[in-house]
């Protein structure tokens, strides 16, 4: 069954109001819903808790006008139990074309031992296991039928001592009020006079308030009339009930009642007890609401607690290793674990990018340094090379000049020498000729 309906008061979608100019036909939607729900059939699981002998089985039989507990299927009190048990009886009842699969969960042995500490534990475990079953079937990949065996309501029977709640009563209700819809009832109310009953009720409600026990609350409706009725019921809480398996004739009417020497306590007489109020409230007007509150409040509480616990603190050793990554996500509200992983992944990507950038920066800087050094070395080398080249060239030129000077000087001297030589040759020949010539 899906979330077919939305509470129009609470959503935040942008809408426009439009008026209809004629017949459309969606006013038949409620009928369609009616039809489908009848076809589907209904389920309801009711748990009854209380010490044995308080008339639980009788009350169930009276409520549903059937022999749920009979000789063949005896009620819990008829069986001797040593420890607290949790038992289920499933019956299929039909009325007016409507089919109801009713499951009654019994807790025989509750409060019957001498030491009753922790006798609520099996009950809590049972409720949780039903939530767990539902959670598992809801979480499957292949979801088929999701049978709802969650406990929708818990009737808690208070012994009619006339004084107040017993420590066990308080303890039980305190432990279960956040797991299931608790409706406390005063059992065997035909042992109290109306005044005693009134006092008893006031005392109980005071104690419930004092211990901050959240019993099932009737929802506010838009309807004024209904609200008036709800207020009347609230004033009568907790309801004082009487149950009976026998039909007696009173004033030529056949009624369920208990025959005493002094009269008949009628079950369905609202002057005698609050049975009709209980029946009307439980079955005729608020059965659906009990299921809705179980689904929307108690189950969701269980689910969010369960999922938060498992997904994020389960792998504790992991947490230690991945300190920086997971401390940010301690609050798991409003996100699915997968969405959280996505966010973590995104954060990680950002972190990696930053790391990469930093590393890149450092790398670049170091490289730049090294490259610069290399460049400097190269420049230095180049410079020295240039200088040395210039030097050598200068020396070269100097040498060339020297050589040229020398060569010039030498060739000049050689030319001179030749001239001298010629002169000397000439004079010698002249001398020779003169010697020769002197003869003439």
């Amino acid at each position: 069954m899906g979330p077919h309906y939305i509470d129009l008061h609470k959503t935040a979608v942008q809408t426009q109001q439009k008026s209809l100019e004629g017949y459309v036909g969606f006013a038949s939607l409620p009928n369609q819903v009616y039809r489908k729900s009848v076809k589907r059939g209904f389920e309801f699981t009711l748990m009854v808790v209380g010490e044995s002998g308080l008339g639980k089985s009788t009350l169930i039989n009276s409520l549903f006008l059937t022999d749920l507990y009979s000789l063949e299927y005896p009620g819990p009190s008829h069986r001797i139990k040593k420890t607290v048990q949790v038992e289920q009886s499933k019956v299929l009842i039909k009325e007016g074309g409507v089919q109801l699969l009713l499951t009654i969960v019994d807790t025989p042995g509750f409060g019957d031992a001498v030491d009753n500490s922790n006798c609520w534990q099996p009950i809590i475990d049972h409720i949780d296991s039903k939530f767990e079953d539902y959670l598992n079937s809801e979480s499957r990949v292949n979801r088929r039928q999701m049978p709802d065996s969650r406990i929708h309501c818990c009737l808690y029977f208070i012994a009619p001592s006339g004084h107040g709640l017993k420590p066990l009563d308080i303890e039980f209700m305190k432990r279960l009020h956040e797991k299931v819809n608790v409706i406390p009832l005063i059992a065997k109310a035909d042992t109290l006079t109306p005044e005693e009953c009134q006092q008893f009720k006031k005392q109980i409600m005071r104690e419930i308030l004092e211990h901050k026990i959240k019993i099932y609350e009737f929802p506010e409706t838009d309807d004024e009339e209904e609200n008036k009725l709800v207020k009347k019921i609230k004033d009568k809480l907790p309801l004082a009930v009487v149950g009976s398996n026998t039909i007696i004739e009173v004033n030529s009417k056949r009624v369920r009642g208990r025959q005493y020497p002094w009269g008949v306590a009628e079950v369905e007489n609202s002057d005698h007890c609050d049975f009709t109020i209980l029946r009307d409230m439980l079955i005729r007007t608020h059965m659906q609401d009990l299921k809705d509150v179980t689904n929307n409040v108690h189950y969701e509480n269980y689910r969010s607690r369960k999922l938060a616990a498992v997904t994020y603190t389960g792998p504790d050793n992991n947490r230690a290793a991945k300190g920086p990554l997971s401390t940010k996500h301690d609050t798991v509200e409003g996100m699915s674990p997968l969405a959280q992983m996505e966010e973590e992944r995104r954060d990680h990507v950002t972190k990696m990018k930053k790391m990469e950038m930093e590393m890149e920066q450092v790398f670049e800087m170091k490289v730049k340094e090294k490259v610069q050094k290399l460049k400097d070395s190269e420049a230095e080398l180049q410079r020295r090379h240039e200088q040395m080249k210039k030097n050598l060239e200068a020396q070269h030129r100097e040498l060339e000049d020297k050589r040229r000077v020398f060569e010039d000087e030498r060739s000049n001297w050689e030319a001179n020498q030749r001239l001298e030589q010629q002169k000397m040759e000439a004079s010698r020949t002249l001398e020779k000729n003169k010697k020769k010539g002197k003869i003439f």
Partner: protein, 423 residues
Amino acid sequence: MASSDVARMPEKAVRPLGLAGHVGFDSLPDQLVNKSICQGFCFNILCIGETGIGKSTLMDTLFNTNFENFESSHFEPQVKLRAQTYDLQESNVRLRLTVVNTVGFGDQMNKQESYQPVVDYIDKQFESYLQEELKIKRSLHNYHDSRVHACLYFISPSGHSLKSLDLVTMKKLDSKVNIIPVIAKADTISKSELHKFKIKIMSELVSNGVQIYQFPLDDETVAKVNTTMNGLLPFAVVGSTEEVSVGNKMVKARQYPWGVVQVENESHCDFVKLREMLICVNMEDLREQTHTRHYELYRRCKLEEMGFQDTNPECKPVSLQQTYEAKRQEFLVELQKREDEMRQMFVQRVKEKESELKDAERELQSRFEQLKRLHADEKATLEDKRRNLDDDLSSFGKRRAAAQLLQAQSLTANGKKDKDRKK
């Protein structure tokens, strides 16, 4: 949370019981209905059809109101979807209606990807719901369900057959949404053509394996009318918000020179049937089908894609929590691996760069050595030249000295001779 401490009797079978009187739980459907009326209903309808085919007009006609529509041009580069939400009320029933229209469908030259924006929109709504469902703290009963409950596919009244765009699109959508094909502008087709057209369309749909929405037959109260209607698919509709007086009534109609096409006249078109089926009889079923069939399929595929299974490789059942844990482990390992990879990459780069730089250094060094050698060679050459010059200089000096000596000698010898002669 082990319930193993509790000794539980084996589950007894369910037994039927008779009631001795009126208990009162027959009011359960009424309780449910009252609650739903209090909360209000929600319905989302998607209209796919070419520009100008009459989607907005039909919506206005169906819901008897004037939704703000603007005419789109034929020149949209891509198919887009436009969604608008309205709050309507009829008697005591409030309905939050979202109308989604395609814009520019069928206008592009290349229509191969036309269906994609529609599929994406539908998937997005499913995804949104799935995310909400998977949240740890969720509020499903408050959630505005935006999933598409019905898709009206407008078929052009060509009278022949479906276009291939129609078949392709419907095939892509039939496992995601309840498709209700309608023949638009049915006032352009005659009765006999219409009959043939409907048969052709249905046979084409069947032969192409397109699964359109079938009105449900499981509920006896409506099975008969639904069966009849199933046989009249697809509905041929005409939309109009204008009123024309016919007889002594004002009716919604289209006025032509040759007559008046009355929208609500069943012999003129199937509008009334469409309204009946879509809104009055099967609206709730459309929503249920969307949730239990189409959404579940989407969810199943999505979860499987993400690696979730109902049983692990050893075929033992695995709970969602276990899968989450396993995923988280995997995820963290992956993140660590990425980090390591990146570091590794950097180490590699550093090494590479270092060796590059070393090579450059070595090259520089060898150049340095080379230049040194060059210089040494040059210097040596220079030295040789210098030595040569010095040698030449000294030999020349020697020659000159020798020559001078000779000259001096010869001069003194000549002088002596002359002196001797003169005597």
